[in-house]
Amino acid sequence: MNGKHSREITVAGALALLLLALGILAPNFYDLQPLLSRTTSQMPALVAAIGITLVIITRQIDISIGAQFSMCGVVAGVVAAAGFPLPVAVLAAVGTGVVMGAFNGVLIAWLGLPSIVVTLATMVTWNELLRLWQQGRLMTLPDGFQWFGLSQATGQGIVIAVAVALLVSAAWTMKHLAAGRHVYAVGTDAEAARLAGINPKWTTFGVFVLMGALAGIASVLNLVQSPQVQPNAGDGLELKVIAAAVVGGVAITGGRGNLWGVLLGLLLLANVNPALTHFHQPPYWERAIQGLVILLAVVADGMKRTKKATA
């Protein structure tokens, strides 16, 4: 029992330490406005992280989410540029995400293809399609898109509120609804789940569709933060959120993990770079440090397991 939340505690501890060090050495880090902007800018990643967490818990992986995110953003941008109002653009983004998620889902759940290869293939396909289509143009969105046409403070509030609401409801669902239990069960042992009357195919399919929808929502939350959208906005997003999930204690072997840990993992990784800036350190260590954090997290897992086994 005591080990159950040890990962969350470790990550929270590391995060607290980092935040404390920032508080002492660079108190400006806590100025309200930059803090708010910084937090808002991480919300799209948080929403995508919810999706990848569910995917990993079902013992799958999705490396196409960055591509989905980019695609959804561009579709929303095109729809908006064609003169449709914001809600239509939002629907278009989410709808595009759902379609791409369903495409992955069909191949993985029904044809039983390995998710890492399927999503690798869809990742390059969507990314290159976007390049072919958009040639890397920065798209300008119509007026009234940024911050949903509201003030900056309100807009940031909405972005954060939407992401947090999604996080809370996803966490609640995972714990209190049968569906959440099904996701864990399928990730632990799909055949046992099937025998228990759960449909692993629909569950897996559903999770990938949800992943797509969340990528769509995330892209919208990103879209409203500036008046322009870049067609490759999602580059590297998949690595960022997978890393957050792993650092947050989601087992890559499926069946284990929770969203609060992922939130902590994301916050920890997302603050490495600002911390380097605030400590006036050169930026070229950033990637190495992020790699180390991931390795430390898995090694900690390994040590814990070995200890358990010998005890």
Binding site: I116, L120, E128, L132, R287, I289, G291, V298
Partner: protein, 338 residues
């Protein structure tokens, strides 16, 4: 029972056959639509430009056979390239010695993966995701992000840019490595054990196979080959930089999986990997030669990178989906037949 086996066998035969057909189709298509496609210089180019990815794909095959994966090979190329540059340009070492050392550094990095995966029993996907960032990060940190090394001796540059007996120099190295890895995978007990481990690591341990050691060897080999690929890349470009090999891991994995190796481990062949690699390399090159046809109002040659990426993705999906679809068709037919 015999029919079960023969139908399974024909399926595998079919997979490599299909891949071969794809390659032939590509060649015919590009020869028809492209400009000077089967020209000697261009055929050399196909290999010269893709040897690094081919090497990574070869080395990735044993890793995937054991049921693992190595996402760090591309980053490892960056690190080895930078180290090679430093050794030659700062430590003034001979390129040969520096090359050997770079391969050693690759093996060392592979050793880190091996230690974490084989000894500590950590999931390969995550370990190598971590070292993917770590190796690239180290390469960037070593060069402070911006330094690069160039001005290598012409004899070293010849490795990447000249021909020996009419064949690109680096292709000879590739062939030697390919034969070596083919022998390893198909003709030695080590190769046999890779499969056994891929199918059942526990079962292999109970059979007395040194699982930890053999898995380690697969990752160390992958690291060493990444080091070799880095040296070849540097000699081709004449410049060593932290961003060498960016994204190559995904291309290598694509080639391996396209070649019919199961991502879950156990089954797969080097011949398949070579065919998968060829299919990608030819696609990538051939599209560049189509200057007379357009897509989205642009000549295909001017969007060849986008097109080849997209088509590779589609090809991968089709190749993957073909197996279960064919299987279910075969099953239906055999049931109807009985």
């Amino acid at each position: 029972m015999t029919s079960a086996r023969s139908s399974l066998k024909s399926l595998f035969a079919r997979h490599e056959f299909v891949l071969l057909a794809v390659i032939v189709l590509e060649v015919i298509l590009f020869q028809q639509l492209g400009r000077r496609f089967l020209d000697g210089a261009n055929v050399s180019n196909i290999f010269r430009h893709s040897v690094e990815i081919g090497l990574l794909a070869l080395a990735m095959t044993p890793v995937i056979l054991t049921g693992g994966i190595d996402l760090s090979v591309g980053s490892m190329m960056g690190l080895c390239a930078v180290c090679f540059g430093m050794l030659v340009k700062q430590a003034e070492m001979s390129p040969l010695l520096a090359g050997v050392l770079s391969i050693g550094i690759g093996a060392l990095g592979g050793g880190l993966n091996a230690f974490l995966i084989a000894r500590m029993k950590l999931p390969p996907l995550i370990v190598t995701l971590g070292t993917f960032s770590l190796f690239r990060g180290l390469a960037e940190a070593l060069t402070e992000g911006s330094k690069s090394y160039s001005g290598f001796s012409p004899s070293f540059l010849a490795l990447g840019n000249s021909d020996i007996a009419g064949i690109p120099a680096q292709l000879w190295i590739f062939l030697v490595v390919a034969i070596g890895i083919w022998l390893l995978v198909h003709r030695t007990t080590l190769g046999r054990s890779f499969r056994a481990i891929g199918y059942s690591p526990e079962g292999s341990r109970y059979a007395g196979i040194p699982v930890e050691r053999n898995v380690s060897l697969a990752y160390i080999l992958a690291g060493a080959v990444a080091g070799l690929a880095a040296v070849i890349l540097v000699s081709r470009l004449g410049e060593a930089r932290a961003n060498a090999g960016i994204g190559y891991e995904l291309l290598a994995i694509t080639a391996v999986v396209l070649g019919g190796t199961s991502i879950f481990g156990g089954s797969g062949t080097i011949a398949g990997t070579l065919l998968g690699y060829l299919a990608i390399a030819i696609l990538n090159n051939g599209l560049k030669r189509i200057t007379a046809h357009e897509i989205f109002d642009r000549p295909i040659s001017s969007v060849s990178n986008e097109m080849s990426g997209m088509l590779t993705g589609v090809l991968l999906l089709v190749a993957l989906a073909a197996v279960p679809v064919l299987k279910s068709i075969a099953a239906r037919r055999s049931r109807a037949g009985t």
